[in-house]
Symmetry: C2
Subunit: 120 residues, 2 copies
DNA sequence: CTGCTGTATCGAAGGCTGTCAACATAGACG
DNA sequence: CGTCTATGTTGACAGCCTTCGATACAGCAG
């Protein structure tokens, strides 16, 4: 997955309304967007992302995630890789531990494509 | 799926930051949110939603959707039902035709949970 | 070098999902 | 009533996804 949301980088589109509503999504753009959303559309991954973001430093190592999620370590690692491949988190290894961090811009970008909120 | 985003109705939460980052998602809340996102995380359904929203009246009948999607009518009907069950579209039958309409509030609500955009 | 701990990968089992053909249903029109 | 058209439902098949146990890899401690 390379450039994921070409439409989101266009300020005009974001300024107006949901890019989804601007014009019919092309098949390839839809596949690309669906890929990113699929990474998000899983209870375990949503909880992982939530745990990471809610943490004090916004940085959590795998060992801190297995317990609250109540799944085996390989499974947690698998989900983190999915989030990593989708660009939703970043990984940085320090010594033995691997620290994961969320990418808020990526989340904001996805949210903007789904629906740019109208000022209430 | 009954009440889908209890957290989104709390203005305090939405006003601050991404509810995802507020506190760790409970397992049930995560499942609920994932269910809504799963409905969105499919290329065909994203295109359908886009076609519906991009249409002049914001209202499209099934017969206008099968051609651009290039799938059989039962498949399109199936996807529309998924979107309907997720509360992302509404259906109104008038005579022989069934007209589908998007629910922007629902999309905005989902987007807000994923990431409430920071003012740039 | 040898063990130990944290993390990633592999292979397999089970369930879920998208798609289709076939059929059922519901209005509209003679 | 009978037929036609638009839509929804059912059953089946193929493919993907989540999860696990087993295993491999990477650093640290001794």
């Amino acid at each position: 997955m390379t450039s994921v949301l070409p439409v989101a980088s266009d300020p005009d589109v974001a300024a107006c309304c949901s890019p989804l509503a601007r014009q019919p999504l092309s098949a390839s753009a839809a596949t690309e967007l669906a890929g990113a959303l699929k990474a998000l559309a899983d209870p375990t991954r949503l909880r992982l992302l939530s745990l990471i973001q809610a943490h004090d430093d916004g940085e959590v190592c795998v060992c801190d995630l297995t317990a609250p999620i109540a799944l085996t370590q390989p499974t947690v690692s698998h989900h983190l890789k999915v989030l990593l491949d989708a660009g939703l988190v970043t990984r940085s290894r320090r010594g033995t531990w691997a620290y994961y961090r969320a990418v808020p811009e990526r989340l904001a970008s996805l949210a903007a494509v789904i629906s740019t909120p109208q000022p209430v």
